[in-house]
C-alpha cells in the first residue's frame, strides 16, 4: 500500500540564519528511513509519465521501487544505466518542470520527490560502496570532446561506454565547467563533482585540461591528429552586460566573474587561497535566474549585509527555480521586483556608490510570451550599493566558431545543429548544450551530450562499413 501523504517527506536543511554565513551544503539529504518513506509515495504507474519528462530517460519508477525495498545499491545502478552524473542531477535538475511535473501524485498534493531520491541513492552509493569501475576495451577510434561541462562529460562517458577513445579538451585547469565555476558549493559540493568525473576517467575518458580549442588547436588540426569525430560542448561562457553608464566602475562584476572567483578559485577561503573577491556591504544583483540567485546567496555568505535581487519583471516571471527563490528569501535576500537599472553612479575615485533604477509595470506580452515590462514615468530612485553583479545571461563563446571554417551559427552566436542528433554544418562535428541552446540547464546539456554520442556512434559505424 503506497504512502498516501500529500506532501513530500521534508528535506532536512541547515537553518537559514546559520547557512547564510557558510558555504556548506544547504540541503542535507534524506536518511535511509526518509528515503524509503518517500519512495513509498510512488504509485508505480504503468505508463510512467515521469520518464517522459526526463531528458536522459532515467527509469524512475523502477529505481524508486528498489529504494522502497531498501535495495539502495541496485536502485543506484538502475539510475546509473542512463544517467552518468546522478549525485549532480539529484541536486541541480529543475525536477519541478520535468519528471516531477508529470508525476500523477502532483495532481493532488506534491509529486514524489524524485530528485531527492535520486540524490539519496547517489550519496548512499558514494558513502557505502567502493566502486570497481572497469575500463571498456577501446575500439581504437578517437573522438574529441570540447569542453568538460555537463554536455561534454556525458557525451564522452557514453562514447567511452561504447568503446571509443574519448578525449575531452577543457580550457580551465579543472574539468566540470559550470558545475565547478558556476554553481556554488552550498548547492553542489565540488567533491561530488570530482567523484563523478573521476568515475568517467576510470571508465577510460581522457581529460586534458588547460586546452583552449580554437587557440592551441583548431578542429582541423585535431582531425590530422587522428580524431574522427567531434563534439562541441563549450557552453555559454560570454557574459552579457547591460550597456548602461557606469558598468566599468570598480565594484561591478559579471556573475561569471563573481562566481568563478568564489567557486572555482575558492575566494571564500582567501587568504588561504590566493584569489580575492571584493563583496562590499550592500550588493545589488541584476537578473532573476538561477545564476542571479547563486550570486546573491554567495554575496550574503561572503559577509554582505544587504543583498538585493533587482529584476525588471514580477515574481511570477522570475526564471529561477522556485526552490532557489525560497532559499534566497529565507536567507534574507531582498527582492526589488519590477525594477530596472538605468545607470550606476560612482564615487570620485571610481567605485560604485549607487544604482539608479526605475519602477516598471507589465504591459502586453512580448516575443517570449511574457508580459513586457514598461518603464513607469517619474519613478526613478537610487539604491545605495557598493557592489553590482550583472546576471542577465551569457552567450556562447565565439572562440571555436571563429577558428572553424564552415561552422554555421545563429546571429546570437549559438551553433546550428540538427535536432536530436546535434549534427552541425560540418561532417563529423556535433554540438550540444548551452553552445547550441544558449544558457539552459545542466540536464538539458546532458541530454544533448547523450544524443550526440549516439549520433557519433552511428556516424562512425557507417563510415567504417
Amino acid at each position: 500500500m503506497p504512502n498516501m501523504s500529500l506532501e513530500k517527506v521534508k528535506m532536512p536543511e541547515q537553518e537559514s540564519n546559520v547557512r547564510n554565513r557558510n558555504f556548506q551544503e544547504v540541503a542535507l539529504g534524506y536518511t535511509e528511513q526518509m528515503a524509503k518513506e518517500e519512495a513509498e509515495r510512488c504509485l508505480q504507474c504503468k505508463h510512467k509519465p515521469c520518464v517522459m519528462g526526463c531528458p536522459v530517460n532515467v527509469q524512475i519508477p523502477e529505481f524508486i521501487k528498489l529504494v522502497a525495498e531498501g535495495k539502495f545499491e541496485e536502485a543506484y545502478q538502475k539510475v546509473k544505466e542512463t544517467n552518468a552524473l546522478p549525485a549532480i542531477c539529484g541536486r541541480v535538475c529543475p525536477q519541478e518542470t520535468q519528471c516531477e511535473q508529470l508525476c500523477v501524485r502532483a495532481k493532488k498534493g506534491e509529486s514524489v520527490g524524485i530528485g531527492r531520491l535520486e540524490r539519496f541513492v547517489a550519496d548512499w552509493h558514494m558513502q557505502n560502496v567502493k566502486d570497481q569501475i572497469e575500463k571498456v576495451p577501446s575500439n581504437g577510434q578517437k573522438v574529441a570532446v570540447i569542453g568538460a561541462g555537463p554536455a561534454g562529460l556525458t557525451c564522452a562517458g557514453d562514447l567511452a561506454k561504447k568503446g571509443y577513445d574519448a578525449t575531452i579538451f577543457e580550457a580551465f585547469h579543472t574539468p566540470g565547467g559550470v558545475l565547478m565555476y558556476g554553481i556554488p558549493e552550498f548547492r553542489l559540493p565540488k567533491e561530488i563533482v570530482k567523484t563523478e568525473i573521476s568515475e568517467l576517467e576510470q571508465m577510460g575518458v581522457n581529460i586534458q585540461t588547460n586546452m583552449v580549442i580554437g587557440k592551441i588547436y583548431a578542429i582541423e588540426e585535431l582531425k590530422r591528429e587522428g580524431f574522427e569525430a567531434f563534439f562541441i560542448g563549450s557552453g555559454a561562457g560570454l557574459p552579457r552586460f547591460m550597456n548602461i553608464p557606469g558598468e566599468n566602475l570598480n565594484g561591478v562584476y559579471s556573475a561569471n566573474e563573481f562566481l568563478t572567483r568564489i567557486n572555482l578559485m575558492k575566494a571564500y577561503t582567501f587568504p588561504n587561497t590566493d584569489t580575492p573577491v571584493r563583496v562590499g556591504k550592500r550588493v545589488a544583483v541584476v537578473g532573476g535566474g538561477n545564476v542571479a540567485m547563486d550570486a546573491a546567496r554567495s554575496a550574503k555568505r561572503m559577509g554582505a549585509q544587504e543583498v538585493y535581487i533587482v529584476y525588471r519583471r514580477s515574481e511570477q516571471e522570475l526564471p529561477a527555480r522556485l526552490e532557489e527563490v525560497h532559499h534566497a528569501k529565507e536567507e534574507g535576500i531582498i527582492f526589488e521586483l519590477l525594477t530596472n537599472p538605468l545607470s550606476i553612479k560612482g564615487t570620485e575615485d571610481g567605485w560604485v556608490k549607487e544604482m539608479r533604477c526605475a519602477k516598471m509595470e507589465l504591459g502586453e506580452p512580448d516575443a517570449s510570451g511574457r508580459r513586457r515590462p514598461v518603464l513607469k514615468e517619474g519613478s526613478e530612485f537610487d539604491i545605495a550599493v557598493d557592489t553590482v553583479i550583472i546576471a542577465i545571461g551569457q552567450s556562447p563563446n565565439p572562440l571555436i566558431k571563429s577558428t572553424t571554417e564552415g561552422l554555421e551559427t545563429h546571429d546570437w552566436g549559438g551553433i546550428m545543429t540538427e535536432e536530436s542528433t546535434g549534427k552541425t554544418s560540418i561532417e563529423g562535428v556535433y554540438a550540444g548544450g548551452d553552445v547550441v541552446t544558449g544558457a539552459a540547464t545542466v540536464i538539458l546539456a546532458m541530454g544533448a551530450g547523450r544524443e550526440a554520442a549516439n549520433a557519433i556512434d552511428e556516424y562512425l559505424r557507417g563510415k567504417n562499413v
Binding site: A171, F172, H173, T209, N210, M211, V212, K215, I216, Y217, G237, L238, P239, F241, N243, E247, N248, N250, G251, Y253, S254, N256, E257, T260, R261, M265, K266, F270, P271, N272, T273, D274, T275, P276, R278, D349, G350, N397, P398, L399
Partner: protein, 281 residues
Amino acid sequence: MYKIVEKGILNEQVKRMVIEAPAIAKKAEPGQFIILRVFDGGERIPLTIADYNRDAGTVTIIFQEVGKTTKLLGTLNEGDSILDFVGPLGLASHLEQYKKVAVIGGGLGTAIAYPQAKKLHSLGAEVHSIIGFRNKELVILEDEVKKVSDEVYVMTDDGSNGNKGFVTDQLKEMIEQGNNYDLVIAIGPLIMMKFVAALTRPYNIKTIVSMNPVMIDGTGMCGGCRLTVGGQTKFACVDGPDFDGHLVDFDEAMRRQMMYKEQESHSQKEHACRIGGAQNA
C-alpha cells in the same frame, strides 16, 4: 605539469623562465599571452609570451616579482614544474605592413616589446627602440633589443646610466628630428602608455599599446579585464591585448587596476608579500 627547462635572472626582481610547452610553442605569436597557476590554490595570472622556440617546444616568460604568485614563481628552479600553463591566448599582433617603427618598452614592458621588435626586424622594418627604467641596475634585455633594432636608446629616470629622461622625451626628440614612423608600439606601465599615446596623437602616428589587466580565464568568460576603447567595452583577453592607444581610456584602466589593492595589502600582511597580476612596473 609544465617543466622549467631554464631560469635566468635579469635583475634583482625580474626573472626569465623557459617552459616546456610544445603545443603552445607551435602556435604562439608575438603579442599573445599565457595564463599560469603555480600550485593548487594559487591564482591564475596572465604573462605575455616573451619568446618561443617551435623546434625546442618551449615558451619563454619574463616576470617581475611584485606579488605573491610572481614571488613564489621566482623561487622555482630549473627542473621544477608549474602546475598549469595555458595558451596561447589573445590576438597576435599584426606587424606585416609597417616600414619604420618606434618600439617603446618601459621597465618589464621591455620584455614584451622585445618580441615585437624582433618580429618587425625579421619582416624587414626599420626598428628604433627606446627602453626606459628607473635606474641602470634595472636595465634588462639591452643586448637582445640591440640585435633587432637599427637604433636603441636606453633611458633612466635618475640618469644613472648617463642618459636621464623618460621614454617620451626621447620619442618626441626623434619625431621632431624628422623620423616618419608609420607605427609606434608602447608597452609598459599604464601611465607610460598613456603619455606615449598623448604624445603621438597630435602627430597622427598610429600607436599600439598592450593592455594587461587582471583576468581569470583569459577566454572571454569573466569580463574582469574589460576596458573602454573608443567608447566601447572590450575584453583585453579576447579582443586584445593590443589596442589603439589613441582610443584606450587609460584613466579607467588605471582605476580598475586598483580593484584589489585592499586585498593585496591584506595578503601582504598575512604572507609578508603581495598578490598581484600586474607585470608592468
